[in-house]
């Protein structure tokens, strides 16, 4: 029998309705066709044993070895991540709506953010929405099947007036919609964290965004340690911690692993995983969008590093993953933001709910895994 030959087919990056061709990552090579080496298979088997049999966290060295696996191993990583999600968290998916209750005019210089007053972006500042506007958005979120509603404010931290508004809104939203209320309002003092916890805030969001070593390249107006301090205060005062990441700002793979070990130390209940959606006028506005296959790899790695967290699809997933969004749901994701984001739009809630129905994943409210 003669040898089988194949004719190489030019890889087509193509344009999509969500991103113009020039924004997509440079065309990567086709996926390797060869089976994984014995050494690569051993790395995956070691992670499986650690996470599913020994029920322990992976070390930085183990995560580095997994991150270095070739592209042909991504589906193996995804399959393992899905098993880890099921074993540590169960099959439910948590659905959340978020609201930019105070938009733009932020004094900080986070290089990815269109809401910073330091950059010339199309986002015009608006004041804190009034009570009826917030409640209407919460009611709409509840009709989408969500269990969580996050009130987000573009501030360095809440002043007293803002804190009072938050404390007024949280019980109202809870009483009128039944939703768990999360808040994202920047850096907190100890007293502010105490008051928010006492005021019924279910979960407080404060992303560290990236590795501590890369953070100064992204933000100069405050430090990674200031963010980590707020994260610790959230937990001290009994709120669940939501602390996430934003990938593809120029960090290296080693820095992504560094971030994973730092998130392990912070022990969040929820980790929202954002993918950079380059915003016009920001310093990162000209970056290429992350390749979809690489995004799947890192979704899996986040799950393998953080087996018990609520790992949430957050900003940038539509423009980054496009038709591979369902693969992410079987690569470790067990939560998503439904509908729109803070300043950009998401796909329709119907599409997401249909995806979950097709995947036969039940929707439920998740909490800190025991």
């Amino acid at each position: 029998m003669g040898a089988v030959t194949t004719t190489p087919v030019a890889f087509r990056s193509g344009a999509s309705s969500h991103a113009s061709a020039h924004e997509l990552s440079d065309s990567p090579p086709p996926l390797p066709q060869a089976a994984l080496s014995a050494a690569d298979r051993a790395v995956i088997a070691g992670a499986e044993k650690a996470l599913l049999d020994e029920r322990r966290l992976l070390s930085g060295h183990e995560l580095t070895a997994l991150a270095a696996l070739p592209d042909g191993a991504v589906m193996n990583l995804a399959a393992l991540a899905h098993q880890v999600r099921l074993a540590w968290c169960g099959p439910e998916v948590e659905v959340e709506g978020i609201l930019s209750a105070k938009t733009g005019g932020c004094p900080e210089d986070c290089h990815f953010c269109s809401q910073s007053s330091r950059f010339d972006t199309p986002v015009k500042a608006t004041p804190f929405l009034d009570r009826d506007e917030v409640l209407a958005a919460a009611r709409e979120t509840a009709t989408l099947g969500a269990s969580e509603f996050c009130i987000v404010l573009a501030v360095r931290g809440p002043d007293e007036r803002t804190l009072q508004r938050i404390l007024e809104l949280v019980p109202l939203v809870r009483e009128q919609t039944g939703l768990n209320v999360a808040v994202s309002a920047g850096i907190l003092t100890d007293d502010q964290a105490r008051r928010l916890a006492k005021g019924g805030v279910h979960r407080y969001n404060h992303n560290v965004e990236t590795a501590r070593s890369f953070f100064p390249s992204i933000v100069t107006t405050h430090t990674w340690d200031e963010r980590a301090d707020t994260c610790r205060l959230v937990k001290v005062h009994g709120m669940e911690l939501c602390c996430g990441a934003l990938l593809n700002m120029g960090e290296t793979d080693d820095q992504r692993v560094e971030l994973l070990t730092q998130l392990q130390e912070l022990e969040p209940t929820e980790v929202p995983l954002n993918f950079l959606n380059p915003r016009p006028g920001t310093p990162l506005g000209d970056r290429k969008i992350l390749g979809a296959w690489e995004a799947v790899r890192w979704i899996a790695l986040f799950r393998l590093a953080l087996p018990s967290v609520i790992l949430r699809y957050a900003g940038g997933r539509e423009v980054t993953l496009r038709d591979l969004q369902a693969i992410g749901m079987t690569a470790g994701i067990n939560a998503l933001i439904v509908g729109n984001y803070l300043t950009t739009l998401g796909r329709s809630a119907d599409e997401d709910l249909q995806m979950l129905d097709d995947l036969r994943m039940p929707i439920g409210a998740l909490s800190a895994a025991i």
């Binding site: 015009k124 929405l129 989408l144 739009l345």
Partner: protein, 61 residues
Amino acid sequence: MPVVTHCTGCGKSLSECHGCGRELDPPRFCSECGRRMTVMVIPTGWVANCRDHGELRSDAV
């Protein structure tokens, strides 16, 4: 019927920009005058407001 003369992504006239607004961005600039609008994005839609030409809503709001 509003006369569309400006790009909603950057505010430039359509003779300078044929439309750079992205599908998953709400309109940020008024299509009639190019002025930057205040935009409220909520989970189910958006509301944009031009100081001179009034309010524009997504279908779902």
